[in-house]
Symmetry: C2
Subunit: 213 residues, 2 copies
């Protein structure tokens, strides 16, 4: 059985998808944030992100500039890390970092009675580099990051992508982030996810590389 | 700054999340499919999955039985593979498989003018094992799989999780799958994703292992 559906070129499909998304938007988007919002909708088929994505002033420009400077990206899950275009990131001089699977992180989390996600953020902060933090899963990662920032105990992040998903502590953790001075991109409310975190990173990467958006 | 938000145990948070989801469901769920639907909502915070998730008769029971028999899971993306609880799968004797990053798959796709996703499904089918196929991204993977099944050119899948996301060929690919005889779990419409594919695998795994659901 052959079908007309198959085997279009992925880049053609992406371009047509972005056109379709543009025609279905409920209202015009801020041009500065448009590429990020459209890529998240492309990843989720969920137009709720048109209005729940929240950008602190200049957040996209700051993220793009950081990536052009070779900034690396820390994620809270291996799934978000897996979704980031590592080739595009490497061309700019950056890499992805993730400490969640480190046995020492697990041991320390258990000993202190905290989450592995929170300890993994401490590990990233201890590198002393300005990093992009992409958090798509664990509100405790985001909360610990906010604490470290507020206490002046870390090099300020270049950008925090705060898009954990879920029903417990998630809304509150995102609002906590928005009350800090850190440049951030946040999916307000319950929605988000590792796929959303990776999509936002990729939208910034393609802008930084001057391609695909 | 300390906050009451932080450092709850992940398993407690999950249990509370599942309770919250249960209270917000728009209508009762089929008990057979409830664990899968709730885990997808847990992963997405999107109640659209209550009604768009479609199960062929006995699909959950067939997936659980296959996993108990040591069945492996093929994914169309490394991101879906990354989200599957590989420890739980290994305890049952299964493993995850993914061929998308194989340079030979890329070379063959280029030579034939087809997608890497489609060729990666052919690679899995060529193993001659009954497998669970979890497709969260590429409609062309799903379409190629349907073609191979319809042509009798592969060992029938134990289950197909057909949840690609997007705007081009996605709805049609899912309907194509539902017209086959293959046991399937499908997110009808545009929604889905690698995270949804992994969540469905994990819900089946936890049922197969007799824990967490």
């Amino acid at each position: 059985m052959k079908t007309h559906l198959e085997y279009e070129k992925p880049m053609d499909i992406e371009a047509r998808s972005m056109e379709l998304i543009a025609t279905e938007l409920p209202h015009p988007l801020d041009p500065e944030n448009e590429a990020v919002i459209k890529r998240v909708i492309h990843t989720t088929a969920d137009f709720d992100y048109v209005d729940n994505l929240t950008f602190t002033p200049g957040a996209v420009a700051k993220g793009v500039a950081a990536l052009r400077d070779g900034c690396s990206i820390v994620t809270d899950t291996t799934m978000a890390q897996s979704g980031i275009n590592k080739r595009a990131l490497a061309r700019l001089g950056g890499r992805t970092l993730n400490f969640i699977a480190d046995p020492q992180v697990a041991a320390e989390a258990k000993a202190r009675g905290v989450t592995r996600s929170a300890v993994s953020m401490e590990r990233a902060a201890a590198l002393g580099e300005p990093l992009i933090y992409a958090i798509g899963n664990a509100p405790t990662a985001l909360i610990r990051l906010c604490e470290l920032v507020q206490a002046g105990e870390m090099t300020p992040p270049a950008l925090v992508i705060g898009v954990p998903v879920g029903f417990v502590n998630v809304v509150e953790a995102k609002e906590l982030l928005l009350r800090t001075e850190v440049p951030s991109i946040v999916a307000r409310g319950r929605k988000g996810g590792s796929n959303v975190a990776a999509a936002i990173c990729n939208a910034l990467l393609y802008q930084a590389a001057g391609a695909r958006d």
